[in-house]
C-alpha cells in the first residue's frame, strides 16, 4: 500500500457518497418532478412538491388558513352499528339534511350522497364542521347545534341506509385509482376509498356527485380544505393535473354506490 493510500480511501468514499447523493437529489427533485402533471409549475414549485410541501398556491392558503386542526376520535361503538332507537332518532334528525342530501341519503344534485357512507366518515366531517376545521356553505351552521349523541345517531342512520349493488373494481378504472402514480406521490385512490380496499376513516366515493368530488379535490389542492391530518389529501390532490382531477372524479361519480 502506498504512502498516501490512507487519505485517499476516505476521500474517494466521500466523493462516491456525494456523487450518489447528487444523482439521487437531481433525479428526485428536478428530473422526475418535471415529467407529467404540473408541468406549468416553476422549478422551485416542483422541488417544493417533491419535498412534500403542499402549500404553494399564491395567497390562497395563508388567507384561508383555518386555525383549527381536525381533532376527532371516533367512538368504538360507531363501528358496531347503531341500535334501532339510535337509527330512528338519526332518521328524524336527518329530515333537516334531506333538502340537499336527499330523503334516502341520495342527493340527486351536487351535494354528496350519504346513504351507506361509513359511519366514522359522517361523524368526523360533522365534528370538523362544528369546530371549524372544515368550512363550507351551510354546513357549519347546520352542524353547530348538534349534540354529540345527535352526531352519532346521524352517522348510524346514514350508515344503515342500503347501498346500491356493490361492484368489484373494474380493470377499466383509471390507473390513478388502481395503482396510483408513485413518482408523483399519489397512492392508489382505490386502496383507501374503495373499490380495491377501504381504510378506516376514508369516505367511500362510489357514486358521489361529480361536481362535489371535483370541487373537494380542488379545495384540497389549493389548501382551502385542510381537515386532513398531516396534509395527506392535500399532498395527493396537489399532484393531480386538471385532467387527472376530472378523470378520477368522473370515474367515482360513474361507479355505482
Amino acid at each position: 500500500m502506498s504512502e498516501d493510500a490512507p487519505a485517499r480511501i476516505g476521500f474517494k468514499a466521500t466523493l462516491v457518497v456525494i456523487a450518489v447523493g447528487a444523482f439521487a437529489f437531481t433525479m428526485g427533485f428536478y428530473i422526475l418532478p418535471s415529467n407529467g402533471a404540473g408541468a406549468t409549475d416553476t422549478i422551485w414549485q416542483r422541488m417544493c412538491r417533491a419535498a412534500g410541501f403542499t402549500r404553494t398556491s399564491p395567497g390562497s392558503a395563508s388567507a384561508l388558513a383555518s386555525p383549527v386542526f381536525t381533532s376527532v376520535i371516533v367512538p368504538k361503538d360507531l363501528y358496531v352499528g347503531g341500535t334501532a332507537e339510535q337509527i330512528g332518532h338519526g332518521a328524524t334528525l336527518a329530515l333537516r339534511c334531506a333538502v340537499c342530501h336527499g330523503a334516502q341519503g341520495v342527493s340527486g344534485g351536487d351535494a354528496p350522497d350519504l346513504a351507506a357512507q361509513h359511519p366514522e366518515v359522517i361523524y368526523k366531517e360533522l365534528l370538523d364542521y362544528q369546530r371549524g376545521a372544515r368550512t363550507g356553505g351551510v354546513m357549519n351552521a347546520m352542524a353547530a347545534s348538534l349534540s354529540a349523541d345527535n352526531i352519532v345517531d346521524l352517522a348510524d342512520y346514514y350508515a344503515s341506509l342500503p347501498p346500491e349493488n356493490a361492484v368489484l373494481m373494474s380493470m377499466n378504472a383509471p390507473a390513478l385509482v388502481r395503482v396510483g402514480d408513485p413518482m408523483r406521490n399519489i397512492a392508489p385512490c382505490g386502496s383507501c376509498h374503495g373499490t380495491v380496499d377501504h381504510k378506516k376513516g376514508a369516505p367511500s366515493l362510489n357514486g358521489q356527485p361529480y361536481t362535489y368530488l371535483n370541487a373537494q379535490l380542488r379545495a384540497f389542492a389549493s389548501g382551502v380544505r385542510r381537515n386532513d391530518a398531516n396534509a395527506d389529501m392535500r399532498s395527493v390532490a396537489r399532484g393531480l393535473s386538471d385532467a387527472d382531477t376530472v378523470l378520477v372524479a368522473k370515474y367515482y361519480a360513474g361507479t355505482p354506490r
Binding site: 500500500m1 493510500a5 490512507p6 487519505a7 485517499r8 480511501i9 476516505g10 468514499a13 466521500t14 457518497v17 450518489v20 447523493g21 444523482f23 439521487a24 437529489f25 433525479m27 428526485g28 427533485f29 422526475l32 418532478p33 422541488m47 412538491r49 417533491a50 419535498a51 412534500g52 410541501f53 386542526f69 381536525t70 381533532s71 376527532v72 376520535i73 395503482v179 396510483g180 408513485p182 413518482m183 408523483r184 406521490n185 397512492a187 392508489p188 386502496s191 391530518a229 398531516n230 396534509a231 395527506d232 389529501m233 399532498s235 395527493v236 399532484g239
Partner: protein, 541 residues
C-alpha cells in the same frame, strides 16, 4: 491468557437471557400462526392476538438481538484485544437496566397495557411503563456502546499505530451504528409518545412520529445483522479450515453499512402522502447502495470458502464445492444463511423500489421478507456464535454434532416453510397484522394453506430452538475439555498496515451523520412546520 474468557459470567448472563427471551417470543409467534390458521377456531379476543404480536416484536426486535450483540461484543473485547474488559461493573449495570426494562415492557404488554405493536404506531398510545421499559433497554445498550469505545481507546493507547483487530473494528462499527440509529425512536418516545402516555398532552403528530421511527426502523436491521456479518468474516473461514480472503474488504463492508444503512428508512413510508416523492426516491436510491457492502461480503466469504476447499484438495471450476466440510455445522449454517439472505434480499428489491412497493405494501409479503432475513439469515449465525464461543465461556465441550446439524436443518427448512408461503399470500393481497381470516369466504379460502404452512414451519423452528437450548445446556453441564486459545480467522495476507480511515471511524461517522441530515432534515422540518396533530388513542384494558 487462559483459554476461558474472564468476563464469562457477564457474557453468559447476556447469552442465556437472550436465548430464554428468544424461546418465549418464538412460542408467542407460533401461537399466533396456529390460532389464525384454519386448524383453529377464530381467536376469541383479537386483543389477545395483538398483545402476543406486541410481545413477540418487542422481545425479538429490541431485547434478543441487543443482548446477543452486547454479549458478542464483550467477548470480542477479550478475545480480539486480548485485554480484560474495562468497566465490568458498568457492563453489569447496563445488563441490569436492560433486564429490568425488558421485564417491565413485556409485563405491561402481558397485562394488556400496551398492545401497540413494537413499532408503536402513534396515535395509538399505551401505558407509560411499556415505553419506559423500552427506553431502559436502549439506554442499557448505549452503555455497551460507550464500553466498546472505551475498551478500543485503551487498546489503542497501549498499542499505538497497530491495526485494530478486524473483529473489534467491526463490533465497534456496529455499536456506533446502533448509537445513532436508536436516536430516531428515542426522540419519538421521549418527545412525542411519553408526554401523552404520562398524561401531559392528549395530541400527537402521527406523521412526524412515523418519520422519526423510520430513522430507526431500517438501520436497526443492520444492527441485528452486524453480529452475523462479523461471524461470517471472523469465525467462518477459521472454522472451516480456510483463510479470510481480504481484511480490507471486510473493513470496507462494515464502514459502508455505517454510512448507507441510516439514510434509507423512508422506504418504509412509501405509501405515506405526508412525505414528499423526492425524498422517497432519494431513500430508494440509498437503499440500493446498501446492496454494495452485502455483495462485497458475499464475494469475500465465497472466496474465503473456496480457499478452504482448495486447501482441502478441491479443484476444478466448481468441483471444489465437493471438498468443503459439509459435516461442519459452521459450513452448513453459512450456506443456509446465504441462501436465505439471497432469497430475502431478492424480495427486498421489490420492497425498496418505490413504484414496485405499492404491490406488496402492508401485505404478508413484508412479514415474509423480514422473517426470512432476520429469523433466517441473521439468527442462524447467532446460533453459530453461541456454539463457537460456548466452550470458551463454559469450559464444556460440544460433543453431539449430529444434534447440532439437525437443529440447523430444522431452522433452515422451518424458516423457508414459514416465509415462502407468506410471500405468496402477500402477492395474493393478504394483509399483515390480521388476528383472524374468514376462510369460508371464497375469495380468502385459496390463501388458507399459506397460514397452515406458516404454522407448520413455525413448529419446526420451535423444535429447533428446543434442540439449541438443549445442546447449550448439555455442553455447559457436561464434561470439561482442555481448551486451546480462541482464534479468529486469519487473512490470506497478514495485516501489517491498514489505511488510516479503515482503522478509525471519523470519516464514516461524519458521512453517516451528514447523510442523515441531508435525507431526514427537510422531511422532519416540513412535518414540524405543518404543526398538525391528532388526538391520541389509548390502548388499555
Amino acid at each position: 491468557m487462559s483459554a476461558v474468557i474472564k468476563a464469562r459470567h457477564l457474557i453468559l448472563a447476556h447469552f442465556w437471557s437472550a436465548f430464554v427471551v428468544f424461546f418465549a417470543a418464538i412460542l408467542l409467534g407460533e401461537w399466533q400462526m396456529v390460532v389464525r390458521s384454519p386448524m383453529h377456531a377464530w381467536v376469541d379476543l383479537p386483543e389477545h392476538y395483538y398483545r402476543a404480536v406486541t410481545g413477540h416484536g418487542t422481545a425479538m426486535a429490541y431485547v434478543f438481538p441487543t443482548l446477543v450483540a452486547m454479549g458478542f461484543g464483550y467477548s470480542i473485547v477479550e478475545l480480539a484485544l486480548k485485554q480484560a474488559l474495562i468497566g465490568l461493573r458498568w457492563a453489569w449495570f447496563a445488563f441490569g437496566l436492560l433486564a429490568v426494562g425488558a421485564l417491565m415492557a413485556v409485563a405491561t404488554v402481558a397485562a394488556g397495557g400496551a398492545s401497540v405493536l413494537y413499532t408503536f404506531y402513534p396515535p395509538l398510545v399505551g401505558s407509560p411503563f411499556y415505553y419506559i421499559g423500552v427506553v431502559m433497554v436502549v439506554v442499557g445498550s448505549w452503555i455497551w456502546v460507550g464500553l466498546m469505545a472505551v475498551n478500543l481507546h485503551a487498546w489503542r493507547k497501549a498499542n499505538p499505530g497497530l491495526p485494530v483487530p478486524l473483529a473489534m473494528y467491526a463490533a465497534t462499527a456496529g455499536a456506533l451504528l446502533w448509537a445513532w440509529t436508536a436516536v430516531g425512536a428515542a426522540l419519538e418516545i421521549l418527545l412525542q409518545i411519553l408526554p401523552v402516555a404520562l398524561g401531559f398532552k392528549d395530541r400527537i403528530d402521527a406523521g412526524l412520529a412515523r418519520v422519526l421511527f423510520s430513522w430507526t426502523l431500517h438501520a436497526i436491521v443492520y444492527f441485528w445483522l452486524f453480529p452475523t456479518y462479523i461471524a461470517y468474516y471472523v469465525i467462518v473461514p477459521r472454522a472451516i479450515g480456510g483463510r479470510l480472503y481480504s481484511d480490507v474488504m471486510a473493513r470496507l463492508a462494515f464502514v459502508l453499512f455505517l454510512v448507507f444503512s441510516m439514510p434509507i428508512g423512508v422506504h418504509h413510508l412509501f405509501m405515506d402522502p405526508e412525505v414528499g416523492a423526492g425524498f422517497k426516491y432519494v431513500h430508494s436510491v440509498f437503499t440500493g447502495m446498501v446492496a454494495i457492502p452485502t455483495l462485497l461480503t458475499v464475494f469475500t466469504i465465497c472466496a474465503s470458502v473456496e480457499i478452504a476447499a482448495r486447501l482441502r484438495g478441491g479443484h476444478g471450476l466448481v468441483g471444489w464445492l465437493r471438498a468443503l466440510p459439509w459435516n461442519n455445522p459452521v459450513m452448513l449454517a453459512v450456506t443456509f444463511s446465504f441462501v436465505m439472505l439471497g432469497l430475502g434480499g431478492a424480495g427486498g428489491l421489490i420492497n425498496m423500489s418505490y413504484p414496485l412497493d405499492s404491490t406488496i405494501h402492508n401485505t404478508q409479503w413484508v412479514t415474509g421478507h423480514f422473517h426470512l432475513i432476520f429469523a433466517g439469515a441473521i439468527v442462524i449465525m447467532y446460533f453459530i456464535i453461541a456454539y463457537d464461543l460456548w466452550p470458551h465461556l463454559t469450559g464444556g465441550a460440544l460433543r453431539n454434532f449430529t444434534m447440532i446439524r439437525l437443529q440447523l436443518w430444522l431452522w433452515f427448512i422451518g424458516t423457508l416453510v414459514m416465509t415462502l408461503p407468506w410471500h405468496v399470500a402477500g402477492l395474493l393481497g393478504m394483509p399483515r397484522r390480521m388476528a383472524y381470516f374468514d376462510y369460508s369466504n371464497p375469495t380468502i379460502a385459496p390463501e388458507a394453506w399459506t397460514v397452515t404452512a406458516a404454522a407448520l414451519g413455525g413448529a419446526m423452528m420451535v423444535a429447533s430452538v428446543v434442540l439449541f437450548l438443549w445442546v447449550l445446556y448439555r455442553a455447559q453441564r457436561g464434561r470439561r475439555m482442555v481448551l486451546t486459545a480462541y482464534r479468529f480467522s486469519v487473512p490470506v495476507h497478514p495485516v501489517l498496515v491498514v489505511p488510516a480511515p479503515l482503522n478509525g471511524f471519523a470519516v464514516w461517522v461524519a458521512l453517516m451523520v451528514g447523510l442523515t441530515i441531508a435525507n431526514y432534515g427537510v422531511p422532519i422540518f416540513h412535518l414540524l412546520s405543518l404543526k398538525t396533530s391528532v388526538p391520541a388513542v389509548f390502548s388499555r384494558e
